[in-house]
Amino acid sequence: MSEITDTDTLETTAENPVSGIDQVAGDFQYAMTYDFDAGTGLNERTVDYISAVKKEAPWIREFRQNALKTFLSKPLPTHWASKDLEAIDFNKIRYYLSQGTKPKRTWDEVPADIKRTFERLGIPEQERRFLAGVEAQFDSEAAYSNIKDAVSKQGVIFVNSSEGLREHPEIFRRFFGKVIPTGDNKFSALNSAVFSGGSFIYVPPGVKVSHPLQAYFRINAENFGQFERTLIICDEGSELTYMEGCTAPKFSTATLHSAVVELVALKGAKIQYITVQNWSPNVFNLVTKRGLAHEEAEIKWIDCNIGSRLTMKYPGVVLRGRKARGEVISIALANDGQHQDTGAKMIHAADETTSTVVSKSISVGQGRATYRGVVHIPRQLKGCKNNTECDALLINTNSRTDTYPAITVRGDRHAVQHEASVSKVSAEQIFYMQQRGLTEGQAMSLSVNGFINDLARQFPMEYSVELKRLIDLEMEGSVG
């Protein structure tokens, strides 16, 4: 089989001691041979190739081709977004790489290299311990996808998006592209043209999935673009927690990750979507995530961004039904060379809808954390409420943080408030801890963990522990 190259060397760790977890857990690569490769660059043939490999129905191919036209016609949003986007060369990216389109149902069937990758990331172990199902995506396709029998017997569907399109077109087509239309933005159009992988989940009415479902996204190839597409539908009164994690090895060239995630919570359903984004610092992470909450439904995004070079991600909730609830909890940590441009969008479209946004960001070294948000309450609604809180913590003298909210309220029957603050770690606290025998670094880590503690507690235990570990690693060497 392919030769194994391991880039996890001591030198890289020593060079940049604060770059953190990527080096520790995700920065390794096994050389692969791919059976399907759409080549470099993007044109109509690339799209046809992907569609052909996946043996898709003509309507999907047409959908993709239209999306490609939309993508090409839209300018980069640099009039408000970072100019760093111009560093992406869409003609140097490989848009599809896979070893086959059918995911395996047991780890034993997964090719050795891929299996080793996921074992090293601890996925099979997590699955055994606390998950109801796992999908593991390697570059463009899911290598492994399984759901525990008990859950599938309840009627829960958990497959990758290609399988979803093939096997459940009646559900898929009804909701696909409805929450996030192709033309929503340039990157949602790109995703719609070349999407591959991602999860399709359907939870039948009244079913409460007791354990989380998890997807893990791994980029292995250089100059690669990963474009998964996730669609989750929770039928009336059902409940689901979904978690995603992601890593990539550290390459010298830019890698692109541009996902589209659509959630639909029908009447009274609850969806909790948890992301721990830990891409290596060469990844452009440009993701569109939005949920549609019907009457009395609840959608909660817990979004944690630690890795990547530039992340632009504003999870949103369209509150379509009366008394629907939306919530975004966002934690971002921007280290040297990173820009975490994250936030939330709350679109109120029915009476008595409520939304909450809590964002905490930490800027280390020359890192830049940005909060960008939209709260929109249109005409003729009543009793809508929004509460937004943004707190930024600046660790070093010239760390940077920005806040750019936009709040539109029409009418006099709503209550909306926004608050933001910027602070640094209190010197007194650090002094106190040092005086008790902690090093300055340990004290700093403890302070930062304290800053996000009330949010981290909302994570499932395993993720909360992982997050703390990640922050400790990121904070190493950041003081002095």
Binding site: Q380, A392, N398, R400, T403, R410, Q417, H418, A420, V422
Partner: protein
């Protein structure tokens, strides 16, 4: 032919009534001005010509009604015969150290500063006079600060077409107790005016300036005004502006404040008039100890749009800014508040605050808030908040239960809402004057 028509339309859209011919006529009337001043005007006009009109995608014009910013149908007042000058309204009849009244851009009256103040070197004169007498100061401070809030084109228009304005200079160490009151009035349909107030307060001086903007008739007019405040080391400027243009007017106003070491500037803008009124306010804290307090009260009625853009730039360590903008929204009105605090790298110990409160008094009104922060130093205290909500129903109920009619109750609650801003004024007299203006506006 069709192509030429399109090009002409584009030019008309871009320049409105301010074509090169109109500018040439304006310059001809300025023949008495020195050449350097005319040269500046020519430069400004060519900037105005070349800069594009705001577009829908301009972040600095987000949520603004771009279609309403139409320069067509307006022309400079020029040499047209002028009616009687407007004196300060009874509400603003404060005892002033000096007054200046401008009608359609020209000095139309006023009371000079006392001989005592004049002997100390205080100048409260027309800008046209200062061009000849104090060219150095004008070069240094007149429209000298960058236009960072989106209206570079209109600031150039202002500079190109300005006829006259107020020039206030307070020398080092001189303190003036009474306010200096400046009235800028416009009359006649389609008239464009370019009011300007330049305040230079030298080190450790103190001055209070009141700008009053008013229309003589309720027609559609265009006001494109600017004011520059410069506070030298340890100086104190209190600046109050009451904007009472006609309810049909288009108003664009640019404020720039420079705060030097240990200086303190307080500015309060009261916005009552204008069909569409945009106010841009830039505060630059250039040296340690500087403090800029930015206050605004807006009452938006009818289908008016009140558009406020602010920028607090902390360029030095140990500076402070405090912004409080309160809007009351009635009828089908719209307000936009877009504020940004910038803390430059190394501007440590900055203390910056920004707060926008919207009182929604109608189910058809719309408020937009864009409170922003850009912080590049870590040892700072920066917070901002924005709220939009209606009056507390319990307070309303209380007033109702005491038999107070709803309209009177609303008025009481609006005053309660604005009191927090008015209370920041040190002068009781000004406080009372602004209250009277607000009351007169609410009752008409």
């Amino acid at each position: 032919m069709a192509g030429a028509t399109t090009a002409q339309t584009a030019v008309a859209d871009n320049l409105g009534g301010f074509t090169p011919e109109v500018f040439a006529r304006h310059l001809a009337l300025q023949a008495a001005s020195p050449e350097w001043w005319l040269e500046r005007k020519r430069g400004a006009y060519s900037r105005f010509e070349s800069l594009p009109m705001p577009r829908r995608t301009d972040e600095k014009w987000r949520f603004s009604n771009i279609a309403g910013i139409n320069l067509g149908g307006f022309s400079p007042a020029g040499d047209a015969p002028r009616p009687d000058p407007l004196s300060p309204p009874p509400e603003l009849a404060v005892e002033a150290a000096a007054t200046l009244s401008f009608l359609n851009g020209r000095l139309a009256g006023g009371t000079p500063a006392s001989a005592e103040l004049a002997n100390k070197g205080v100048v409260a004169s027309a800008l046209s006079e200062a061009i000849a007498r104090h060219p150095g100061m004008l070069r240094e401070h007149f429209m000298a600060q960058p236009q960072k809030l989106g209206s570079a084109k209109f600031a150039a228009l202002h500079e190109a077409f300005i006829d006259d304005g107020a020039f206030i200079f307070v020398p080092r160490g001189v303190e003036i107790d009474r306010p200096i009151v400046v009235v800028h009035a416009v009359s006649g349909p389609g008239t464009a005016v370019f009011p300007h107030t330049l305040v230079i307060a030298e080190d450790n001086s103190r001055v209070t300036v009141v700008d009053y903007f008013a229309s003589c008739d309720p027609s559609r007019q265009f006001a494109c005004g600017a004011n520059d405040l410069y506070a030298g080391h340890g100086a104190r400027i209190t600046y109050t502006a009451a904007q009472c243009w006609s309810l049909e007017a288009l108003s664009l106003q640019f404020n720039s404040t420079v705060v030097r070491r240990d200086a303190r500037v307080q500015s309060l803008n009261l916005h009552l008039g204008g069909k569409q009124a945009r106010h841009e306010s830039l505060s630059q804290l250039q040296a340690p100890g500087g403090f800029s307090e930015m206050l605004a009260i807006t009452i938006a009625t009818g289908a008016r749009e009140a558009d406020q853009r602010t920028l607090q730039i902390h360029q030095a360590p140990n500076t402070k800014s405090d912004l409080l903008y309160k809007n009351a929204l009635l009828d089908q009105s719209r307000t936009i508040f877009s504020g940004l605090i910038i803390v430059d790298p190394d501007a440590q110990k900055t203390d910056a605050y920004q707060s926008n409160r919207n009182l929604m008094l109608s189910d058809e009104a719309e408020s937009n808030s864009l409170p922003g922060l850009e912080i590049q130093a870590n040892d700072v205290r920066c917070t901002h908040g924005a709220t939009s909500s209606r009056i507390d129903p319990e307070q309303e109920f209380y007033l109702k239960s005491r038999g107070i009619p709803p309209k009177a109750a609303d008025e009481l609650l609006i005053f309660g809402f604005f009191e927090e801003v008015l209370n920041r004024l040190e002068s009781e007299e000004l406080h009372a004057a602004l209250r009277k203006l607000i009351r007169a506006h609410l009752r008409r």
